[in-house]
């Protein structure tokens, strides 16, 4: 660990003018394990994607072993010796391990037997106990990850990047994975890994870098960190507070309990989760990736099914409910504003008014559809939510991110829900629209409806919530009133 193998100097990446990270100076030493930490949206994944050639830098330079490089594709990065193992593996599930290992490197006259023998020898050389003839879709998460790692090593990667490598692993598999990483380090491979689990970073890494709001806050030896220092660096605020506003000081009065989730289970994502939601309040749900927040509320809205046996109970308006599809949930008064508005939020080739009208029809139905009524409703909602568009006939695709989000909110609002769930309501929204969307959310709660906001941005949660629930590993682990909540306390609950 004497010299730098990979270096980023003054690196900046912007998406549509909004920086994912900027002015980052990052150094990876030869043969080190480097932990990359930060909240969701801090810029960790984008930074590593730059190294792996998935995205390119807007400004700044990248050096590999002192040589200036700029991979524009993952293939180029791999040729340079930089491999990335994604959270969702990129293996072909219907092919065998050996076929996946040599995918794209097949000889002109490929012999399957030869491929298996080569794969067997190579995997044995790495001391990876995986059957090269096994189909990838029959492997567990850890074995899939081993194949990914093997593929990167086969490509003679000098730098290996892991994005949340342990998120899907069992404790035994994690231990095995750690051994693999230490083994790779001994072979001289330099490793960067992103993790939300602080214990793992403190256990695995030689050095740790913390990003916050797209800026590199600190890089230091592991020995100089403890959990408190890491959390303080992760949540210390400057930019975000000006963006999202300060913490709520006046809390709305809690109304009746609208929703009670009892011992909900959804596969490995939600484990015995229980929570209540009250009318007249904004309940913020915070958690790191994989905390099971979205899955929980998708089950409530009928977008996902809970475990078939002993999946727990959901009581909405004092009635036990079990929605298998969204339509009955909408009829009962539950609206879900998706985090992925471009895919699930609206019909992009339809006009604003048609989008809103179709949402209204989904709940109330109508024998005769009236284009005049659609136009009037569209026009009303454009005014109410201040959607910036030429008129109600503008297509959804013609709107900016913030106005598209307002359209999705209008679609939910027109269904007159009793409970409205916002999943990442300001993700990808321009700065100016954030405050407006927050104002709309606040207005809904002021009207006495129950509002849930799922957000990975702590400042956003602090700015709009009357009550904050913190999720970790598939269940709610802590509840705060907005008055008592602090950044550190919430983050502590989310990671411990």
């Amino acid at each position: 660990m004497t010299s730098a193998i990979l270096e980023l100097r003054n690196a900046t990446k912007r998406f549509g003018g909004i920086p994912a990270f900027e002015g980052v100076n990052f150094t990876l030493m030869k043969g080190e394990i480097h932990g990359l930490l930060g909240e969701n949206g801090a810029g960790k994944s984008t930074l590593t994607k730059v190294m792996a050639g998935v995205v390119t830098l807007t400004e700044g330079e990248m050096f590999l072993e002192g040589r200036k490089v700029g991979p524009r594709t993952p293939a180029e990065a791999l040729e340079l010796g930089i491999g990335m193992v994604f959270q969702e593996t990129s293996l072909v599930p219907t092919m065998t391990v050996a076929q996946n290992l040599f995918l794209g490197r097949e000889k002109r006259f490929n012999r399957l037997r030869g491929t298996y023998i080569a794969a067997q020898q190579f995997l044995q050389g790495l001391n990876f106990h995986v059957d090269p003839g096994a189909l990838v879709n029959q492997l567990g998460a850890a074995k899939k990850q081993m194949v990914e790692i093997a593929r990167a090593v086969l490509n003679q990667a000098k730098v290996l990047i892991f994005d949340e490598p342990t998120a899907t692993l069992t404790p035994e598999e994690k231990k095995y994975f750690f051994d693999l990483v230490f083994g790779l380090k001994e072979r001289g491979v330099s490793i960067i890994f992103i993790s939300h689990a602080l214990e793992e970073a403190l256990q695995l890494a030689d050095r740790i870098t913390i990003l916050r709001d797209g800026k590199l806050v600190v890089t230091d030896d592991k020995a100089k960190f403890d959990r408190t220092r890491i959390i303080n660096h992760m949540v210390g605020r400057d930019l975000s507070e000006t963006l999202y506003g300060a913490k709520r000081e006046v809390v709305r009065k809690r109304g009746r309990r609208v929703l009670s989730v009892q011992n909900l289970r959804v596969g490995a994502a939600v484990k015995n989760n229980s929570l209540s939601i009250f009318a007249g309040q904004v309940t913020g749900v915070f958690g790191l990736v994989g905390a099971g927040r979205t899955e929980t509320f998708k089950v409530i809205a009928g977008l996902l099914k809970r475990d078939f046996t002993h999946g727990g109970a959901i009581v909405f308006d004092d009635k036990p409910v079990r929605y298998r599809v969204p339509a009955p949930a909408i009829r009962d008064g539950i609206a879900y504003v998706t985090e992925d508005r471009k895919i699930e939020g609206f019909f992009d080739i339809m006009s604003i008014s048609d989008n809103i009208y179709i949402a209204r029809l989904a709940k109330f139905g109508k024998a005769i559809v009236s284009s005049g009524e659609a136009a009037r409703i569209g026009s009303d909602w454009i005014k109410k939510l201040r959607i910036r568009a030429i008129d109600q006939t503008s297509k959804a695709t013609e709107l900016s991110g913030g106005n598209q989000q307002k359209l999705v909110i209008a679609k939910s609002f027109v269904q007159e829900p009793e409970l409205i769930i916002f999943d990442e309501p300001t993700r990808g929204v321009d700065v100016g629209a954030i405050a407006e969307i927050h104002e709309v959310i606040g207005r809904i709660a002021d009207e006495g409806r129950a509002v849930v906001v799922i957000s990975s941005y702590l400042p956003e949660i602090m700015a709009i919530s009357d009550r904050i629930l913190v999720a970790r590993q598939g269940k709610i682990v802590e509840e705060f009133s907005a008055k008592e909540a602090t950044d550190s306390a919430i983050m502590y609950a989310a990671v411990h």
Binding site: V251, K253, R254, G255, R256, R257, S260, Q262, N263, S274, L275, S276, F278, F308, T309, H310, G311, G312, A313, V315, D318, P320, R322, D466, R467, L469, I476, E479, S481, A482, K483
Partner: protein, 360 residues
Amino acid sequence: MALFKALTDKLLGHGEASIAVPILDGSFKPNTLLDQADVVGTFESPSDLATDGKELFLADGNAVRRLSGGAWRDFLTAEGPMTALACFDGGIAMAIDGKEVRIAGGRFDGKRWSAVNGVPFVSINAIASDGQRLYISDGSLTNAVDNWAHDLMNHGCTGRVIVLDPNTGSARILTNGLRYAFGAMPIGGKVWISETWRHRIRSVGQGDEMVLDHLPAYPGRMAPASDGGVWLCLFARRTQLVEFVLREAVFRRRMMKEIEPEHWIAPAFRSGDSGREPVQAGGIRSMGVLKPWAPPRSYGLVVRIDANGIPVYSIHSRVGAENHGIVAVAELGTDLFVLAKGPRRVLKLSIGNIEKEVAE
């Protein structure tokens, strides 16, 4: 069809067979206020509290005691243990051994009732008054007051609420067929009723409606709060383990036949006395601290409910503490008196302090 659904529900854990309990959050968010309360007396066999707005009365075994000038004094005695108490028209209304309601003192001194429609009282466990009439809850027709856990384990559904009119001496059933009745409170022309094994508060009178359903603990007696609404005692928390046992008929029958009642897998007023008790040994102890999410067998909980039936806040004695099994509460002046049946204590809390601590 219903039988088939019941069978599939049991197999799959759906519907009524779902072993799920609500969480303590929102208004029920745990705190340690009951553990910080002042102890104003420890007694042999306390069972209920009552107040006339000036003084506090306690039913303790065969005696009624009065808190006067900071000291407890004997007020009256009866020939049997008292199971419920209320101040009424200058006197005291009391239930003796759960089988008789009697008024001592005041205009109606000596009035007594022991049956309604020819059916004798069995387990009178709460008395309340609207100034004109008495509202009593007869928990079960098959189990005496002290055998409430037997009623739960037998899925008892014979509870009833009875209205007594001292002016005419009449008694009439307000509602019956309740899955254990433990508390009735007249509020604004209606009567709120604790239906304990169904974990709910219902309102009867001018139309039957739900006040609170799906409670996370077993509701008991209520007492009026000075600014409207009530204080509700919840004497034990619901747990998935007990809910599971309640759905396992064969296991439950064997447990009741072969094991001493104090060691049943059932809610209790106190716990931690014996290593043979269930659950506590399975509590999660980490870094020397019994974690609050350890499944509790006993728990202390009082909830303040406003006149619209919305829980406002709650005060707790959590797992690992002692002030469990809250069965009675009385507001007197600026203080709240609480009877913790587990440690047999009467506790005192300042309402101002409670509201300061739990204010959002």
